[in-house]
Amino acid sequence: MSTLHTVNKSPFSTQSLLSCLNHAKDGDTILMIEDGVYGAAKGTGLGDALAARGGAVSLCVLASDMEARGLEASRLIDGVTPVDYAGFVEMVVNNDRTQSWL
Amino acid sequence: MNYQLDGQEVPADEEGYITNLSDWSKDLAEVIAKEEGIEMDDERWEVVNFLRDYYDEYQIAPAVRVLIKAIKKTMGPEKGNNKYMYELFPYGPAKQACKIAGLPKPTGCV
């Protein structure tokens, strides 16, 4: 029983990513989409919060939204995996539920 | 579809629900009821007043099953049932009675 969490807001304007990290269970997946992708960049104040859950929760970022914003894969926090739309769909199918953190 | 009361125009939407809840009066209720083909009597007023009180307290017009359950609780099972309520308001107790009560269309009614 696992949940796919999506976060679509920049972590610098809302608490959504932090709240999501605080509520995700081990084995869940967090997918950062739209402005949420800024949360996956290295060198921000959020690295520790992500790293703390990084092992137990799988962290992903939607590649198209990264590319659109000029966020290169080399700048992602270690352990964050870019996925394409097909990967997104697969995640929805492979989890028991999806929860959007708006 | 607006209503006419004492030479004044009272605005309503295309389904006949009045636009400004504050326009409501007992006289207007009679006008709306007539438009619905309903003659207001004590039994119908009881339901209309109940709906207005419910709206006052909760800020919503209840769905029909909620209305009937609530009527059953306060006025007893001989009134809180589908048959009695549909006899009073043949086109749906929540919808028709809410319209006459000057409330918005019930939440949860499609």
Binding site: M1, T3, Q15, S16, S19, N22, H23, A24, K25, D28, D96, R97, T98, Q99, S100, W101, L102 | Y54, E57, Y58, Q59, I60, P62, A63, R65, V66, K69, A70, T107, G108
Partner: protein, 136 residues
């Protein structure tokens, strides 16, 4: 009735009047209640502000929908989970929230509180136990 009842969970994370999320969520809950599912609501982050007592919007010219939470019991929606940490972070306690009661049909219509204060960990468990999660 062979239909399976599913567990629906409405997540409320927004304050009441700054955006339309809160009011829309409540509307969806009321409409969804017609489908006889196992419905519960969660209030966390700024969502806890929706339940704060003493709301008065008359100067704003918008509807104060906080009284509508008290009608949820009539719609058989009787579980409102409020996260303790979210209250604490905002300097609030359970006493600052509206009293929301329902009548328990299976217990001779005894009045019971709908609001249940839960920890963040419990909230996470509740979320993980749902069939459908709807976020606002």
């Amino acid at each position: 009735m062979s239909e399976t009842v599913k567990k629906f969970f409405y997540v409320n994370r927004k304050a009441p009047y700054g955006t339309i999320f809160a009011q829309e969520a409540l509307e969806v809950v009321l409409i969804g209640a017609a489908f006889d599912q196992d419905v519960s609501l969660g209030f966390l982050d700024d969502g806890v502000y929706q339940l704060v007592k003493g709301q008065d919007t008359k100067d704003l010219g918008v509807k104060n929908f906080s009284p509508t939470f008290r009608a949820l019991g009539d719609y058989d929606v009787t579980k409102l989970f409020v996260e303790k940490e979210s209250l604490d972070e905002r300097g609030l306690s359970a006493d600052d929230l509206d009293e929301i009661m329902y009548e328990d049909e299976d217990d001779d219509w005894a009045e019971k509180p709908s609001i249940r204060i839960v920890s963040r960990a419990e909230m996470a468990d509740i979320m993980a136990d749902q069939d459908v999660v709807l976020s606002f």
